[in-house]
Subunit: 95 residues, 2 copies
């Protein structure tokens, strides 16, 4: 019987996990891109990005593309570590 390790609740969320999954592989992504890939509503995505950012798992940069606002997300070292730990823990449940 595997021991069921604690699953980081910040990552154990469909949308936040999808965002992290994307960022782990592409390093940085724009808000609109994340919205398309995840099929999330903008509101939901905005909230969840803020949580990941508050936790230090991602870094958010706000700038302008031409005259429109542009939000770009980058994963942090801490974020990568957290994601890896989460995946390891999760495997204990599903493998």
């Amino acid at each position: 019987m595997p021991d069921f390790k604690h699953l980081d609740p910040l990552l154990h969320s469909q949308l936040r996990l999808a965002v992290m999954s994307i960022l782990v592989s592409v390093q940085s992504a724009e808000f609109v891109y994340l919205k398309e890939q995840t099929n999330a509503t903008a509101g939901n995505l905005s909230v969840q990005i803020e949580k990941l950012s508050a936790a230090g798992y991602i870094q958010v940069e706000k700038s302008f593309k031409g005259k429109r606002p542009l939000t770009t997300c980058f994963i942090t070292k801490q974020g990568i570590k957290a994601f890896e730990d989460y995946v390891k823990a999760l495997r204990g449940y599903i493998d």
Copy 2:
């Protein structure tokens, strides 16, 4: 980029997933055993078992061991299917 499939919210819960994970491998387990293996409080476990049961993912049998109440949980076919589907979907996020 994998498409992020919908994750069954009933299974996307640390404790319920742990319970299902155990039942998938052992077929049936007693309340106390599940409590020990998952380190859950009895109250939490009771609630989550009821949810899995209401969804038809497990079947709950209440009897007596000697004169003490005994709650035994069995996974159902539907539960196995749901667990497998969940695992497949989840792999799209973490593999």
